[in-house]
């Protein structure tokens, strides 16, 4: 479903005398539909860079990212026009960042409901039920449902982050250390949710801090170096 071919990313820092930084190069892998690829490698080697290039937060400097979109057919995410990338993000591709970044002054429940309402075409009641189900599974105390996530603990924020990304059941999910700040129990719940999502056909690419965890959830591993 997604084939990365010789992807590279360099940053040119004009304001630091044209300093060049090579973030990654020669990245090539293939993930079949329904597969789960883990990215492995020491810190600073460019794992997050790869995910950000796939999500188009970074513009790739070279190579191609062939993705078989449900809406557009075969596309190259490295060069696809902005509008189409926004469309694919809205309909197909989810991303879990290392830290929660949400719109301020929006309650936890609305943060998670918003993508369901916008993307799945369900009623408010259905979206609300699904949201509350997720929050309860992730053991977010119910008195926090209508509080602002910016005030939550690190672990709670990360659980909200994951809930927001999985709630609307994306077709392709990119995960950047989703479990790094979670306790053992929460990690278990998150893995269970990811497993269910895969059973429904989702494809995933993830970075996990913990090698044991990585090997247990993914079905192939790519070494970034």
């Amino acid at each position: 479903m997604i084939t990365v071919d010789n992807l590279s990313k360099n940053f040119t820092l004009h304001i630091l005398n044209e300093k060049k930084i090579e973030a990654c190069r020669g990245i090539s892998f293939n993930v079949p539909q329904g597969g789960f690829l883990g990215l492995l490698g020491p810190s600073g080697v460019g794992k997050s860079t790869v995910l950000k290039c796939l999500y188009r937060t970074y513009l790739a400097s070279g190579g191609a990212i062939h993705y078989n979109s449900a809406t557009y057919g075969m596309v190259d995410l490295a060069t696809l026009p902005d509008r189409a990338v926004i469309d694919i993000r809205d309909r197909e591709m989810g991303y879990v960042s290392q830290f929660l970044k949400v719109i301020p002054r929006v309650s936890a429940i609305d943060v998670i409901m918003e993508p369901i309402l916008a993307r799945n075409g369900v009623t408010r009641d259905v979206a609300r039920k699904r949201t509350i189900g997720l929050l309860e599974r992730l053991r977010i105390p119910s008195h926090l449902f209508d509080a602002y996530p910016a005030t939550f603990s690190g672990g709670e924020q990360q659980r909200i982050n994951i809930a927001r990304a999985v709630s609307w059941k994306p077709r392709l999910l990119l995960l950047d250390e989703p479990t790094a700040s979670l306790d053992k129990y929460s990690v278990g719940v998150v893995l269970e949710i990811l497993k269910e999502l895969r059973e429904e056909g989702a494809t995933m690419i993830g970075i996990f801090h913990d090698t044991g965890l990585l090997e247990s959830v993914t079905d192939s591993v790519y070494h970034v170096c």
Binding site: H14, T57, L59, D82
Partner: protein, 290 residues
């Protein structure tokens, strides 16, 4: 999906101009002032698309041509050159001669008569200025300010106009009881919300926001932004959001253009512009963020 408006090579020059104007201005010279004849190239070959229900951000330092761009598209100023075309689906009423057979897009709107431009503006556009003194008549009642816009859009029934005004003021969180007070009695944040109510009164398809939160204090700014975000989804607006504040752009816009010395130097997804800026100026802008 086709763009709602296509803008190609839009330019605005203040001054007589000479053959050296184009080559002596722009981001590479760090100026929009022609060294030869003293003309100002406020906007230079600006091209972009605005889609249905999208918020497009325009960032850049003061003097980069952001507000000029808005004034040109709102038909307040006459462009020196370029082409603005509207998609047929935007078409609300029957102005003759704008769409010619066959094409999905209108003729160049910049070539229309003043009368046609005014009709188009009243039917399709809303604008909120940084300075409420430009957008509002400060000594006319707030309801009257909104009614003025409705009159322009063809409304005639006083009762209905009053009803619409109170509806809009309620949406923008102005106490309806103060509808008959002039904006000069209001605080800056309230004036800005009256402006937003006025801009939305004709159910516009396109809303121009020119530095709407600049100069407001933080909590008022937050409320204005929340209001704009909610109104966008409620009214299905396409917005052009001009701001020098990257936070505002990040909150409201999916796509962003960066302007410098009258040129668009870079455009892309907002998160890409903020995290992987390509142009020297954008890198400086992002690095300067507090």
């Amino acid at each position: 999906m086709e763009p709602l408006i296509r803008i190609r090579n839009l330019s605005k020059r203040f001054g007589d101009g000479c053959i050296r104007c184009l080559e002596s201005t722009g981001p590479q010279h760090d100026t929009n002032l022609c060294s030869c004849c003293g003309s100002v190239m406020a906007c230079n070959n600006v091209s972009f698309d605005l889609f249905h229900n999208e918020a497009l951000g325009v960032v850049g330092e003061s003097g980069s041509g952001k507000s000029t761009l808005v004034r040109l598209l709102h038909f307040e100023w006459e462009a020196s050159g370029g082409c603005v075309e509207l998609h047929q689906s935007a078409w609300p009423c029957n102005l003759p001669g704008i769409f010619t057979g066959g094409s999905d897009y209108s003729c160049n709107l910049l070539g229309l008569s003043h009368f046609q431009k005014r009709q188009l503006r009243n039917a399709l556009m809303g604008i909120v200025y940084q300075n409420p003194h430009i957008g509002l008549r400060m000594h006319v009642s707030s309801g009257g300010n909104i009614a003025e816009r409705l009159l322009g859009a063809g409304w005639r029934h006083i009762g209905r106009m009053r009803h619409r005004s109170s509806e809009l003021l309620e949406k923008t969180e102005i106490p309806v009881a103060r509808m008959d007070e002039p904006p000069c009695n209001f605080s800056g944040g309230m004036q800005q919300r009256v402006q937003i109510a006025k801009a939305l009164s004709n159910n516009p398809l396109i809303l121009f926001l020119d530095e709407v939160t600049t100069g407001l204090d933080l909590s008022v700014q937050a409320r204005a932004l929340d209001l704009i975000r909610n109104l966008r989804s409620e009214f299905n607006l396409s917005m052009l959001v001009v701001s020098h504040d990257l936070g505002v752009i990040n909150l409201l816009c999916q796509r962003t253009m960066v302007m410098k010395s009258g040129h668009v130097v870079e455009s892309g997804l907002t998160d890409q512009i903020l995290q992987d800026p390509q142009h020297r100026y954008t890198q400086l802008l992002v690095a300067s963020q507090l």
